[in-house]
């Protein structure tokens, strides 16, 4: 089950790329860690720049100072007891950098890091996702280099054994008299050893977890997916109904889809529009870019063998809370209406089968969009739900309002003209379409009046600004009296 990797993702911070509208906490964590890495990389590099320069100066100094004496120690021997990693008098820090393991790996992984950072700028990410996604895989080079960065052990300290024979605090004052059989100072020549590489200890566990998750996702994606039904809706929307062994979903989740015939490497996320109670799972794909257009084209050609589809998922937090409220206010804005297809269907199934887990008695559904064109399929869904409810005599279960925010004079004129008709002129639904944005204060007070003693759950899938105003209304219209109406705003990430 996907839930067992929830905290793994949080810990690793980035096992997933995400959809725009989801505020995954793991992404925020990942970005914070990335900023920290960038900052500390800068500090680390500046420090080592100074180190190499000063090591080089010490090695070249011939003035009998402490640093020049220390630099000369153990340089010619086979044993690894030296302190100064620079062994030559006539080299430069740059040359040393490129001929040692830490220097070379350092430069390579820093360049990789910088490329990753520049391609992750929000502007690039939002406009040219592939550049970001493929460049970000440089992290493989980054972590590989990071692990071997410290192997050579160039940064050294005095060995414990040597500290017994040479106390630096005392002996540093008279470096010319070290070693030999000097009875005065008991200072043997100091000996130095490497501090072992440590990075691998920190990154090993997360790397293994990440590799494991990628392997798992790959294995999952190789499972066979059977496309049971393909429907082409108006405004270039493709509905795919599919079947996969062992697939189980909850409302509000999403899957990643890959179609090798369109692009071998691209995976794109889509919200599941089917209810868990149905025996298939479905997505509605709208043509918004290369990949989606190609996919829709491929299916429209109706070749005898349907193109192969790979599915990874489902992901996302399941929103079971929707079913726990006696009264639910569901608000879907624009593309945010998609998860509600799943929610509404599921609620209807549970209601029909008198499912005990369903506490909901009444739903108020608000659909806000500029124009219904691309969501004609959702329109049909509402129409069929409307019809089913009437047939079961439970027409009052669902109360939905559609708000068209992209109206113009001609649409409004038509609406006014057809005022007396039974069905709405725009959608064909029994409920009339309203124009413009809803007045939430009116809506909330109406719901509060109709259900004076209920707990009302408010669920939103839409922009942040709308979330703020809904939250405000929830506070405003909740009664202080615990027996009276209470509105709870759910910040579920649908």
């Amino acid at each position: 089950r996907d839930k067992k990797f929830y905290y793994t993702r949080v810990l690793l911070g980035c096992c997933r790329r995400t959809m725009r509208k989801q505020l995954d906490h793991n992404l925020t964590f990942h970005k914070l860690v990335a900023y920290a890495i960038a900052l500390f990389t800068a500090v680390h590099i500046i420090a080592h720049l100074c180190n190499f320069e000063w090591y080089n100066d010490s090695q070249q100094a011939a003035d009998g100072s402490l640093s020049s004496i220390l630099s000369d120690l153990h340089q010619d021997e086979e044993s690894n007891k030296w302190l100064n990693p620079i062994h030559s008098n006539s080299t430069t820090p740059a040359y040393v950098t490129f001929t040692t393991i830490p220097g070379l790996t350092g430069v390579i992984i820093t360049v990789a890091l910088i490329l990753m950072v520049t391609s992750s700028m929000e502007f690039i990410r939002r406009s040219y996702f592939e550049v970001f996604w493929y460049t970000h895989h440089l992290f493989i080079i980054y972590f590989a280099g990071l692990v071997i960065h410290g192997i050579a052990g160039l940064v050294r300290g005095q060995t414990a054994e040597s500290l017994n024979k040479h106390n630096p605090e005392h002996c540093a004052q008279d470096p010319t008299h070290w070693g030999g059989n000097n009875k005065h100072s008991h200072c043997e020549e100091p000996e130095f050893g490497s501090i072992p590489a440590e990075s691998w200890q920190w990154v090993l566990a997360p790397i293994l977890l990440y590799v494991f998750e990628r392997v798992l996702r790959f294995w999952r994606s190789q499972q066979r997916v059977v496309v049971t039904k393909v429907v082409v809706h108006p405004s270039k929307v493709l509905e795919l109904q599919m079947h996969k062994k062992g697939f189980s979903m909850e409302v509000g989740q999403y899957i990643f889809i890959n179609s090798p015939s369109v692009s071998r490497l691209e995976w794109h996320p889509f919200t599941l529009t089917s209810a868990p109670e149905e025996d298939f799972f479905s997505v509605h794909i709208r043509a918004v870019g290369d990949w989606t257009e190609n996919l829709i084209d491929t299916f429209q050609q109706q070749k005898p063998k349907t193109p192969r589809i790979e599915v990874d998922g489902p992901f996302g937090t399941a929103s079971e809370d929707v079913f726990q409220y006696e009264v639910a206010m569901l608000v879907g804005a624009g593309i945010g209406v998609t998860p509600f297809a799943s929610v509404l269907k599921s609620i209807w199934y549970k209601f029909q089968h008198a499912d005990q887990r369903l506490k909901t008695k009444k739903i108020y559904f608000y659909w806000l969009c500029r124009d219904t064109g691309a969501f004609a399929w959702f329109n049909d869904l509402l129409a069929s739900l409307e019809q089913e409810m009437e047939e079961s005599g439970k027409a009052s279960f669902l109360n939905y309002r559609l708000f068209l925010t992209g109206w113009d004079n001609s649409i409004a004129g038509q609406a006014a003209f057809n005022f007396d008709k039974d069905t709405d002129v725009v959608t064909g639904l029994k409920q009339k379409t309203s124009f413009g944005r809803p007045r939430w204060s009116n809506e909330f007070s109406a719901v509060a009046t109709a259900h004076p003693r209920s707990v009302v759950g408010v669920f939103l899938c839409g922009p942040q600004a709308l979330a703020k105003s809904l939250q405000k209304c929830c506070h405003q219209y909740s009664s202080l009296d615990p027996r009276k109406v209470k509105f709870y705003f759910n910040k579920e990430n649908f």
């Binding site: 590099i45 500046i46 100066d57 740059a94 360049v111 490329l115 391609s119 502007f123």
Partner: protein, 186 residues
């Protein structure tokens, strides 16, 4: 990957390289490393690159997010016409600017990054991309009546002359009674 404008990424990379050049340069000059004149050069080169790359060019498709306050830089960069518009020029310029920074360890990173930016610009130039300034849109006059009034009248409506518009005293305002009316006090 058909819709990528490589120049946008090259721009980010070059801007980052400029900052890295400046940082590396400052470290070497402040600590007086051997060969620090190269670092002084790299500070100057870094600043120049940052100034050149700060104004983002206009994307061919879709809207482009401007960087904060970039319109002042755009005005200057625009002046150079084809020199700043052409990405071949930028590719060669960045490659040339990067070379002296390679002589000092502190600035080698800046050199590598600027070199990569130069390579991406070369790719952009080969694909025919160009730097176009983001122009400020002229301020639209706020429309009265929500745009439904197409030709608002320009003259005020005709009014009677000032004298006749003076307010009439209250008593004369009412009707003229044909029969005298006496008010009986109760």
């Amino acid at each position: 990957m058909g819709r990528i404008e490589w120049a946008m990424w090259a721009n980010e990379q070059a801007l980052a390289s400029g900052l890295i050049l400046v940082t590396g340069g400052i470290v070497a000059v402040a600590a007086q490393f051997k060969g620090w004149p190269f670092a002084a050069y790299s500070i100057a080169a870094g600043v120049f690159v940052c100034l050149l790359e700060y104004p983002r060019g206009k994307r061919k498709k879709g809207s482009t997010m401007e960087r904060c306050g970039q319109k002042y830089f755009t005005a200057v960069v625009k002046v150079f016409g084809p020199v700043t518009r052409n990405y071949y020029v930028r590719a060669i310029l960045h490659a040339a600017l990067a070379v002296p920074a390679g002589f000092l360890l502190s600035t080698i990173l800046g050199m590598a990054c600027l070199g990569i930016a130069s390579a991406i610009y070369l790719l952009a130039a080969i694909r025919g991309e160009e730097w176009n300034p983001i122009e400020q849109k002229p301020q639209e006059r706020p429309q009265v009546g929500g745009g439904t009034i197409k030709q608002p009248p320009t003259m005020p409506p005709p009014r009677p002359p000032v004298e006749t518009r003076k307010k009439q005293p209250a008593e004369v305002a009412g009707q003229e009674n044909p029969v005298p009316v006496a008010v009986e006090a109760e």
